[in-house]
């Protein structure tokens, strides 16, 4: 039945103000895959992820979800997707728990794990009532990462999720990803660190080379 891959990206190119950032990006993603986007600073990893979330429009090429072009299955696609960017969308004046409650409330779907449990698992057990401006950099990111535990989305797009996270946290996060793909999900992430994940695939983003004059 499901011949079509979960996500397929064909010949994608993006240009901003007449200069092309990358072109001919091609890959497919199936359930169970973890795809790491590699590339130097400024090579366009964040831009690629934002193209995938639909925040930006590609100049050329097509992204399709389960065989359908994004524009035709916007609602389903966005419901099945979770994106955590450089800016983790954590409100400084709210506590970790309030932040998470709001994130869950706006999400299309979530599982039964309670918010308290999720916060405990990411190591914020005693911190759930403290306003987030009083959290350390790593704790701040952990609030956003707790969303992963509650999410039911199949596609996770994570932009440098390991930023500011300590070693133990990195290991925990990797086991989370592993579990997610084991359940049939898929992950695209960008990071400069080396990961130890089964079935990890890499995609190297190369700068666009101007052809002709």
């Amino acid at each position: 039945m499901s011949q079509a891959p979960l996500l397929s990206v064909e010949n994608l190119a993006f240009e901003r103000d007449d200069s092309c950032l990358f072109s001919a990006v091609d890959f497919t993603l199936d359930s169970g895959d973890v795809l790491q986007i590699e590339g130097a600073n400024g090579s366009g990893k964040t831009t690629l992820l934002r193209l995938l979330t639909g925040s930006l429009q590609p100049s050329v090429g097509e992204i399709s979800y389960l065989g359908q072009a994004l524009s035709e299955c916007r609602y389903n696609y966005l419901s099945d997707m979770l994106y955590i960017g450089h800016q983790p969308a954590v409100k400084l004046n709210l506590s970790a728990e309030e932040n998470l409650r709001w994130m869950v409330a706006t999400a299309a779907q979530s599982n039964d794990l309670s918010i308290k449990d999720a916060l405990t698992q990411v190591g914020l057990a005693g911190y759930s009532d403290i306003p987030c401006y009083a959290l350390s950099a790593g704790q701040h990111r952990r609030v956003a990462l707790a969303r992963l535990l509650i999410s039911q989305a199949r596609l996770w797009y994570l932009d440098e999720p390991f930023t500011s996270i300590d070693k133990q946290g990195v290991a925990f996060l990797q086991s989370c990803l592993q579990q997610h793909v084991a359940q049939g999900g898929a992950v695209i992430l960008s990071t400069h660190q080396d990961l130890a994940l089964n079935g990890l695939r890499k995609y190297k983003l190369l700068p666009h080379i101007e052809q002709g004059v």
């Binding site: 901003r16 103000d17 007449d18 524009s71």
Partner: protein
């Protein structure tokens, strides 16, 4: 704004242009290159016409039209004041329509027209305000009074200023075009409301002491030159708009091959 264009095309599918139909000119118009070439052919004729009509109107109005019984010669400011006020108002709608076309059909050229129309309209509004103020001193004894029409003209100037400021504020051309098109559209919805409310405000607060609208029905000899001037201003507006748009085309398309060829050809001459 994709949902908007989708909604639009669903609603008006029957009448919408599509490439196979007789609407082809519409699509060709969307091509900056085509527009640049064509407008280059129109421009000399249009400029000539504008020049002739404006000259006729000015000479007629300033030299031959009779002196006003009450105001003497100062009334001749009307030949600048009224056409400028006219054009300032229609200019806003031209700008907003161009913006709407851009949003709906994603036509590049109409964004350029929109961008070009804003400063022209703002200058005309300013001219209307300025000539009005100069005229106000001899007739009303004050440069500025809070009359309904004058106020709505001032607000129009602010609307223009907003669109221009937004154009310049954005870094990305695409975002600038779309954002100012949205603002221009919101403004168009508001212009009639603003005009109505300012009228209401005026009549509510103050008995009619001086009123622009109730200018006594003009003598034909004074009115004809005015009419000529208005036509002249429209032509002039057209010329200015085309010139500005052409400029904008060159600026935005400077990297395309046809503009490079054009520049090379000019340089080679």
């Amino acid at each position: 704004m994709s949902w908007l264009s989708k909604l639009f095309s669903k609603l008006f599918a029957k009448w919408l242009p599509n490439e196979s139909s007789s609407w082809q000119w519409f699509y060709r118009l969307g091509s900056p290159k085509w527009f640049y070439r064509r407008s280059g052919q129109w421009l000399p004729w249009l400029s000539l016409a504008a020049l002739l009509v404006l000259a006729t109107g000015l000479v007629w109005g300033l030299a031959f039209a009779p002196e006003d019984a009450k105001q003497g010669n100062s009334f001749r400011i009307i030949y600048i004041h009224v056409p400028a006020a006219f054009l300032a108002q229609s200019g806003y709608f031209i700008m907003a329509i161009a913006g709407a076309i851009g949003l709906i059909w994603k036509m590049k050229i109409s964004y350029m027209v929109m961008k070009a129309a804003a400063p022209i309209g703002a200058v005309l509004t300013f001219v209307a305000l300025f000539t009005g103020a100069v005229w106000g001193k001899p007739t009303w004894g004050a440069y500025w009074v809070w009359d309904a029409r004058i106020t709505s003209m001032l607000i129009l100037l602010f609307l223009y200023a907003g669109v221009m400021a937004l154009q310049y504020a954005y870094h990305s051309i695409d975002a600038a075009s779309k954002a100012s098109a949205i603002l221009a559209l919101v403004g168009t919805v508001n212009i009639p409301i603003i005009n109505k409310s300012v009228d209401w405000w005026y009549t509510l607060h103050q008995p009619a002491t001086i009123k622009l609208t109730s200018a006594p029905s003009m003598h034909m000899d004074m009115f004809m030159p005015l009419l000529v001037m208005i036509v002249g201003f429209y032509l002039f507006y057209g010329v200015a708009l085309i010139l500005h748009t052409r400029n904008e085309i060159l600026r935005r398309e400077r990297k395309t091959s046809w503009v490079r060829e054009l520049v090379n050809a000019k340089a080679g001459l």
